[in-house]
């Protein structure tokens, strides 16, 4: 019976050596680095804000890597935007203190350094479709087939259209500049009329420049 005692006794033996060992173990619980709290907050919580855009008021979410989600308040108002974001990204949100630099200009299609976009979690194809779309300059349009070709899948025209229909960052990735091969505007996240209006105003501005 004595053989088993060692395993069954409570770990708090009075033995001095044990006490020293326990003290040493306790000292391994060094306090976390001072910057842990802030670094965790930035890594865990995406930030959100609302601002004006050519589409009216928009809600914008961004991560440490860039802007991750843009929606109009009309389409997904306040709390619904937050909930849609959580469902889509599985990450908590907190209200931002300030907008990422260049965001407002980029939303309005003004020249200047656009903010980074965070497309993490998307498939390679989705990523390539959005990257190709992002290169279409102000005042110009490209057909869906062009986007599919640029994304390396010339036959995936419909699939490219579906990716653009779910564009997480409209305006920053100007999916409204992708049109049908006959020149008609086609579908848009925020409706075909909005797409036509955006394109007309961009066309006019590009000519002014």
């Amino acid at each position: 019976m004595n053989d088993t005692i060692n395993n069954d006794t409570d770990d708090n033996t009075d033995d001095a050596r044990s006490t020293a060992l326990l003290d040493e173990l306790a000292s391994l619980a060094s306090p976390p680095p001072a910057e842990l709290a802030e670094s965790l907050r930035d890594r865990l919580f995406d930030r959100w804000l609302s601002t004006e855009s050519p589409l009216g008021p928009v809600l914008v979410a961004y991560t440490t890597r860039g802007v991750s989600f843009v929606r109009t308040s009309a389409l997904v108002p306040g709390e619904q935007f937050l909930e849609t974001h959580r469902r889509r990204f599985g990450r908590p949100l907190r209200r931002a203190d300030s907008a990422p630099s260049g965001l407002v200009d980029a939303l309005w299609g003004r020249p200047g350094a656009a903010p980074e976009v965070d497309l993490e979690g998307l498939s390679a194809f989705e990523h390539d479709v959005l990257a190709a779309t992002r290169t279409i300059p102000l005042g110009e349009t490209r057909p869906y087939a062009w986007v599919a070709r640029e994304a390396g899948s010339p036959r995936a025209v419909r699939a490219a259209g579906s990716v653009l229909a779910r564009n997480p960052v409209p305006l920053l990735v100007p999916c409204h500049r992708v049109v049908r091969s006959d020149g008609s505007p086609g579908q848009y996240l925020f409706g075909p009329e909005t797409k036509q209006r955006l394109l007309s105003s961009e066309h006019a501005r590009a000519h002014d420049l």
Binding site: N7, A26, L28, L36, L40, L44, G90
Partner: protein
Amino acid sequence: MNTTARRARTAPDATTTSSGDSPDGREADDALLELREALVDDLDEGFAQLVRTHQAVAYAVALRTTGQRADAEDLVAESFLRAYRALRGYDTTRLRELQPRAWLLTIVVNTRRNQVRDAARRPRADGGELPERASTERSVEDRAQDGETSDELAAQLARLSEAQRTAVVLRHVVDLPIDEVAEVLGCPPGTAKSHVSRGLSRLRDLMTPPDGAHTAATSRSNP
């Protein structure tokens, strides 16, 4: 279960600040209730509170299982995100019964286990040349030699089996009561206790210097 004893062990500072009825224990209970209500009320706000309350203990456990600060921070961040995704699926009843610290530390321990397993699999998937060793593949022991962990004890800790190491870290590094250690390990308290004491006795053996006092004492007893 003896809740008074459990509470007293959970809040070891109680003896220094209180007399008689344990007000710190009550404070800990109040804080727990408040955290649960915050999670029910507004998940993101409640989650922020969970992060604030338990990031230090999560980090201490992560540091002792990874051995490196950057890895520990990655592990903590990953674990909190998993925690958040799990919380989103919990209903009010489940949130009100949550034992957040044990629950969170279970996620930390499991996430680490997955990381180690994935890191071990990766080279085979790559085939061909041996890849550069990722930091997750380096043992705590290696890093202790590189001066990345504080001392010898941390290195010896790494030589214990996973169950023993986790048990010792939870019980004696971050000072969890044995019931919570058992909850994190997913075993009965008796088994958790046995992991702790076996781990401690292995550590004592590992830490005894080869020319230690023991040999002298033994030889003296032989005339």
